[in-house]
C-alpha cells in the first residue's frame, strides 16, 4: 500500500517538473475513453434513428411538400400538371393569405383539394403555415417583376367578353393551337379551372410549360406590349363565356335520402330539445 502511494506521489512530482509530459497526458487522456464512447454504440450503423414523429408533428417544408404537393405541382415546384409554385412572379403576385387559404381550403370547382384538418384534410394549421413560408423561402425572388407593375392579383371589375375575344385572337391564339376539344377554349377544360386560375396564369405565366407572363411573348423571351388590367379581365371574361353552364366542375358529395342506424333519442332527453326536433322520429 505504502509503496503504491509513494509511486503516485513520485509521478505527480514528475508531472509537475515536466510540463510537456503533463500536457501530453491531458491531450491523450480522452483517447483512453474512446473505447467507452464506442461502447455506447452511437456511431454504429445499427444505431436507431430518432423517435418517429406523428404525422401532425412534421413541420419540415421539404417533407410536407414531398408528401402533399409533389404529385400535381411538380417535384421542385415546377413541371407538374398543376400551377408551378416555384414561379417567383406567381409568389410575388399572390399574398400569404391567398396561398394559405388555397392550401387550407382548396379551390372550389377545381382539382385543388383542401388540406387543413378543419376542411377535412390531413394537415394542421402549423403545417399549412410551414408550407406557405417554405414556398416563399424556397422560390420567392426579390423584385420578381423587375420594376414592372403587373395587373392586380384579384379581378377588380367584370370584363368585356367581346373585347376579350379580340385580345385572345391577337395575343393568345398564336400559340394555343391544339384541337378545339382539348384547347383552353374547350368548355370541358374550362369546367375544371377557375376564373382566378386563368387570370393568375395570364399574369404570372407558367415558365415551366412555355406560357409567358402578361408582358412577354415567351418565358424569358422578347418584351411585348404588356396586357393591361382590363385586357386580362376581358380575356378571362371571354373564356368564362365559353363555359357550358350545364357542365359542373367537380362532383360534390352526393346526398342520400334514407339513412340507417339512427336511433330515436330517449323521450326524457328529447323533451329538453327543440333544435333537432325534425330529426327525431325519422327512423
Amino acid at each position: 500500500m505504502h509503496r503504491r502511494m509513494r509511486d503516485w506521489a513520485r509521478l505527480r512530482t514528475r508531472l509537475r517538473t515536466r510540463p510537456w509530459m503533463y500536457i501530453a497526458l491531458r491531450l491523450t487522456s480522452p483517447l483512453a475513453f474512446a473505447p467507452l464512447a464506442l461502447l455506447c454504440g452511437c456511431n454504429s450503423p445499427g444505431y436507431p434513428p430518432p423517435p418517429a414523429k406523428t404525422p401532425g408533428e412534421i413541420t419540415s417544408f421539404a417533407t410536407l411538400y414531398a408528401q402533399n404537393c409533389d404529385s400535381c405541382h411538380g417535384s421542385n415546384g415546377q413541371d407538374g400538371p398543376a400551377l408551378d409554385l416555384a414561379n417567383p412572379e406567381y409568389l410575388a403576385l399572390a399574398d400569404d393569405a391567398t396561398l394559405r387559404k388555397f392550401t387550407a381550403e382548396g379551390v372550389t370547382g377545381t382539382e385543388m383539394p383542401a388540406f387543413a384538418t378543419s376542411a377535412g384534410g390531413m394537415l394542421t394549421d402549423a403545417q399549412i403555415d410551414a408550407l406557405v413560408t417554405g414556398m416563399r423561402k424556397a422560390w420567392s425572388k426579390p423584385n420578381a417583376f423587375v420594376g414592372a407593375v403587373p395587373p392586380p392579383y384579384a379581378q377588380a371589375k367584370a370584363g368585356d367578353p367581346r373585347h376579350g375575344e379580340q385580345t385572345y385572337q391577337t395575343r393568345c391564339a398564336g400559340c394555343h393551337k391544339n384541337s378545339p376539344d382539348e384547347e383552353i377554349t374547350s368548355p370541358v377544360y374550362l369546367a375544371l379551372v377557375s376564373d382566378q386560375g386563368l387570370r393568375t396564369v395570364i399574369i404570372a405565366g407558367r415558365p415551366d410549360i412555355g406560357q409567358p407572363d402578361w408582358r412577354h411573348d415567351a418565358p424569358g423571351g422578347k418584351l411585348t406590349t404588356p396586357l393591361s388590367a382590363s385586357d386580362v379581365e376581358d380575356v378571362v371574361a371571354y373564356l368564362a363565356s365559353l363555359r357550358t353552364p350545364t357542365l359542373p366542375g367537380r362532383v360534390q358529395a352526393q346526398t342520400s335520402a334514407k339513412i340507417p342506424n339512427q336511433r330515436t333519442a330517449s323521450k326524457k332527453r328529447s323533451q329538453t330539445l327543440s333544435a333537432s326536433a325534425a330529426v327525431r322520429g325519422a327512423k
Partner: protein, 209 residues
C-alpha cells in the same frame, strides 16, 4: 442412450453417503393401508382446496368475457355543427369504457358522414376485413384500407378488395344539438350484430346486414 457401456473407463468415484436409504420400518407402501388412506385423504384435501380456489381464479381470468352491452353506451362526438353537411370527417372520442392504465390507447377514431339535413352515418375506422384503419379520401369519395386493399364507397358499402361486407357502423342520435353514437368496443365481425351495415343503394355489398 441410457445404457452405460461397462467397458468405458469410469472416472474414479468418491465415497458418498447414500442418503436415499429408507428408514428400517418402511416396507412396501401398498401393504400399509392406514398410511395409504392418509395419503389419499391428503390428495382429496388438496383437490378440494384446488377446486375452491379455481373458481375465483377462473372468474378473475375471464373477467373481461362479458356481454357486449356491458361495455357499450352512448357517447357524444361534439356539436353537429362540427360535421359540415355533405362531408365525411374523422372524429375522435374517448372510449366510454376505459381504465386508468390505458394511456393514449383509450381513444377511438371514427368517420362521421353528414349526408344532409342532420342525417348521419358513423363508420368505424376498422376495415371489415381484418380491422386495419381505413382512410377517407374526400376527393375520390372512397375509403381505402392500407393492409389488403379493401375499398368502400362513401356510404360505407364495399367497393372492392377482400372485405366481405361494408364498413361497420355505429348507431347514432342527436341530443341537445350534439351527435351521439352507441360505442364502446372494438368493432369486429363477432359483434357486428350490433353494427349492422345496411347498404343504401350504390355499390354491391354482398352483406346487407
Amino acid at each position: 442412450m441410457a445404457e452405460n457401456d461397462p467397458s468405458q473407463p469410469q472416472a474414479p468415484t468418491l465415497p458418498t453417503a447414500d442418503l436415499s436409504v429408507l428408514p428400517a420400518g418402511a416396507q412396501d407402501p401398498r401393504l400399509v393401508s392406514r398410511r395409504w388412506l392418509f395419503f389419499k385423504a391428503g390428495l382429496a384435501i388438496n383437490a378440494l382446496v384446488g377446486i375452491g380456489l379455481a373458481i375465483p381464479i377462473i372468474r378473475f381470468l375471464f373477467a373481461s368475457w362479458r356481454r357486449d352491452s356491458s361495455y357499450e353506451s352512448w357517447i357524444s362526438l361534439g356539436p353537429i355543427e362540427s360535421f359540415p353537411a355533405g362531408q365525411t370527417r374523422l372524429a375522435v372520442f374517448k372510449n366510454p369504457f376505459t381504465r386508468p392504465l390505458d394511456g393514449i390507447t383509450d381513444y377511438v377514431a371514427c368517420y362521421v358522414r353528414h349526408v344532409a339535413s342532420n342525417q348521419f352515418q358513423v363508420f368505424a375506422v376498422n376495415c371489415a376485413h381484418l380491422g386495419c384503419p381505413v382512410r377517407w379520401f374526400p376527393q375520390s369519395q372512397l375509403f381505402m384500407c392500407p393492409c389488403h386493399g379493401g375499398v368502400y364507397y362513401a356510404d360505407g358499402s364495399r367497393a372492392s378488395g377482400p372485405p366481405e361486407r361494408g364498413l361497420f357502423t355505429y348507431d347514432w342520435k342527436i341530443v341537445s344539438g350534439e351527435l351521439e353514437i352507441f360505442a364502446g368496443q372494438m368493432p369486429t365481425l363477432s359483434n357486428s350484430a350490433k353494427l349492422v351495415n345496411i347498404s343504401i343503394g350504390e355499390g354491391k355489398s354482398p352483406c346487407r346486414g
